[in-house]
């Protein structure tokens, strides 16, 4: 097939190898690999037929490419994405997008101006249960959402050690960028960039000079207050677990990778199929099959969307575009600034008037 698009996967570490396998297995793609470390390049170039490059600049200058998937340490994202966009390449970048949110906003503009597909790998937006949560939030059926708890736990740093780039501040490591970025990105999806961040504490437990634990309070104008609670030194979890809980004037909503649980005080016409009381939806039921399954449908699905957008020249990402990831970078910068100075970042959120009696749409929603 001659119309296959050519995508280079850059950075063949843990995430990168997995991206490489999924991209390479995609029927519409011819894959290329790139990694700076000699070991991986040697082993792969002797054992697979795909070209593997060592030098990124040379590769994007010389290979005929349509797109790149950037899965290098976070510090390298901004310069590598900049170079790719300059070459007119579509970009899928691993999260977090850029360590400096001003880079994120600049690159968002460049990609938009050039009409390039620009996407970031926040895969939780492709998990069925969180997609259902988004649908429920947008429907308004929860009433006025006032209270949110956003959590992530897992077993990454369990003892003092030398570590890899993930535990080095200069490389963009740490629990905030690696773990907390996910629940923050989900909050951005539901509510946008917070107007105020306060009470942030970035705590090292085993690491030196970098956080293993993150807590913060986020507030939105006329929106909820969210508590962020994240810890990557928790061995009780087999792997990373992310969960969001919300309380609104018409009920309570919970989601994690497996399921979405909704308690409604009263059913709502905007949300057909859900009744008063408890409702349960499983990710397994909400998920479409993928062309190639490696480690969860969400990882395959986000790349499928990217590949489709590139192949069909749609000029923009279907989900997780640079602008949305820039919101997350901005939010993380607020958490860092707040943790450093102790002073709240942003203006106190405007507070909506307390709900008095039924809300506007309530007249239609009360019957069922």
């Amino acid at each position: 097939m001659t119309d296959r698009i050519r995508i280079a996967v850059v950075g063949l570490g843990k995430m990168g190898l997995s991206h490489f396998a999924m991209v390479n297995a995609h029927p519409r793609v011819e894959a290329v690999g790139c990694d700076g470390a000699g070991f991986m390049v040697d082993v792969l170039s002797r054992n697979i037929s795909v070209p593997i490059h060592r030098d990124y600049q040379t590769m994007i200058a010389k290979e005929r490419l349509d797109a790149v998937v950037i899965a290098t340490p976070s510090r390298l994202h901004a310069p590598m994405v900049t170079a790719a966009l300059e070459q007119g390449l579509h970009v899928f970048c691993e999260k977090p997008f850029c360590l400096d949110w001003q880079d994120s906003e600049r690159l968002t503009k460049v990609a938009t101006d050039k009409g390039l597909v620009a996407q970031v790998g926040y895969h939780y937006r492709y998990v069925g249960a969180f997609q259902e949560m988004k649908r429920i939030v947008d429907s308004g059926a929860l009433g006025r959402i006032t209270h949110v708890l956003a959590e992530a736990y897992g077993p990454v740093v369990l003892r003092p050690k030398r570590g890899t780039w993930r535990t080095q501040k200069s490389e963009g490591g740490g629990c905030l960028y690696d773990y907390a970025a996910h629940p923050i990105n989900l909050l951005n999806w539901f509510f946008g960039t917070p107007s105020r961040v306060s009470g942030s504490v970035l705590t090292p437990i085993y690491s030196e000079g970098i956080d293993d634990q993150v807590t913060a309070t986020l507030g939105w104008d006329n929106g909820p207050t969210a508590q962020l609670s994240v810890n990557w030194s928790d061995e009780s979890h087999r792997k990373m677990t992310t969960r969001i809980t919300m309380i609104g004037t018409n009920g309570r909503l919970f989601a994690d990778r497996q399921e979405c649980q909704l308690f409604l005080r009263a059913s709502d016409l905007a949300l057909p199929g859900y009744q008063a009381g408890w409702n349960l939806r499983y990710t397994t039921d909400l998920t479409q099959d993928v062309w190639f399954y490696l480690r969860g449908e969400e990882y395959s699905a986000q790349l499928a969307d990217f590949i489709t957008a590139v192949a069909e020249r749609r000029g923009a990402a279907a989900e997780n575009d640079f602008a949305s990831a820039a919101q997350t970078d901005r939010t993380m910068a607020m958490v860092i600034a707040n943790a450093e100075t102790g002073a709240p970042v942003g203006a106190p959120p405007l507070v909506a008037k307390p709900a008095n009696g039924p809300r506007k749409r309530g007249w239609f929603a009360r019957g069922a």
Partner: protein, 292 residues
């Protein structure tokens, strides 16, 4: 060629793996904290005539192997189908030590391979093969003195290698399992039709592949029809997992449907209660003929 039993007992339930609910997964992890609790369930299955335990090479399984070795009379017919490696052990090691560091971590400290990796120079093809074999042998250590007639490679590894096009590694696995262990090499995959083609290109004929096979096509990547075509072609010896599609298909209907498919030699299932174990066994006997 080893004949496989019709019904194999899986181990997800013992290790806090539940595709539906983290709460259930945690409750299971708590319940199976002690090896005795695992043995109690395995004993129910064994006494029902389910003698094959298809299990991850998780550290806890070493304790199960100890129990089985320790009571050869009780477990005269008990056999393991090891599934290697326990992926999180490697994933965590890579996070902790980096790619090369993780490999060194699993090599014997005094060996030539550790030295080769420490040197940071390019590895010869022969050395890559040797490293793969050492990794396999490390995973098999816990099963010494038990029966392991079929040995699987876990789906995350199979599918990672498949996706990368590094299928030569699967050939190394295949040869080593036959030569060193006299066992049948086998593959777990979430992409069975694609894997089957790739294995054939490596010269591996009629492989044993364990994959999701269920009436509603749940997690049958590559497409339901491609699975049925592969099964009908006689090119694969299939082990069906997720036959109930995480509970979406009634048990009787699920097993009945599987029993009419050509090419499915075995079903692997996990259960924690005697009732569910006996229920599945009775259905398999009913629809697939009484077999061990």
């Amino acid at each position: 060629m080893a004949t496989m039993d019709r019904l194999l007992f899986g181990d997800n339930q013992f290790f806090g793996i539940n595709h539906m609910s983290e709460e259930k997964a945690r409750a299971q992890a708590m319940r199976f904290q002690s090896t005795q609790a695992i043995m109690d369930v395995l004993d129910v299955a064994y006494d029902e005539g389910i003698r094959t335990f298809m299990c991850t090479t998780h550290d806890r399984i070493a304790e199960v192997a100890d129990r089985v070795r320790g009571n050869p009379t009780r477990y005269a017919a008990f056999q393991f189908y090891p599934c290697m490696p326990y992926a999180h052990k490697y994933a965590n090691a890579v996070t902790e030590h980096g790619m090369v560091g993780a490999l060194r971590h699993f090599m014997p400290a005094d060996g030539l391979l550790a030295t080769a990796l420490a040197g940071g120079k390019a590895l010869a093809t022969k050395e890559v093969d040797s490293i793969a074999k050492v990794l396999i042998d490390m995973e098999m250590k816990m099963f010494v003195g038990t029966r392991t007639p079929v040995i699987f490679i876990q789906n995350v590894f199979t599918d990672l290698l498949l996706g990368m096009g590094f299928t030569r590694a699967l050939r190394i696995f295949d040869d080593h399992i036959r030569e060193k262990y006299g066992a049948e090499p086998a593959y777990i995959s979430m992409n069975m039709p694609m894997l089957l083609d790739a294995l054939e290109r490596e010269g591996i004929e009629r492989p044993i592949i364990c994959s999701n096979i269920n009436k509603i096509g749940f997690r049958m990547s590559g497409g339901f029809d491609a699975y049925l075509d592969a099964l009908r072609s006689g090119r694969v010896r299939a082990v069906a997992m997720s036959v109930y599609a995480s509970g979406a298909i009634p048990a009787d209907e699920a097993i009945h449907w599987i029993s009419e498919l050509p090419g499915v030699e075995s079903i692997v299932f996990g259960a924690s209660s005697a009732g569910n174990i006996r229920g599945t066994k009775a259905l398999v006997d009913k629809y697939m003929g009484v077999a061990a």
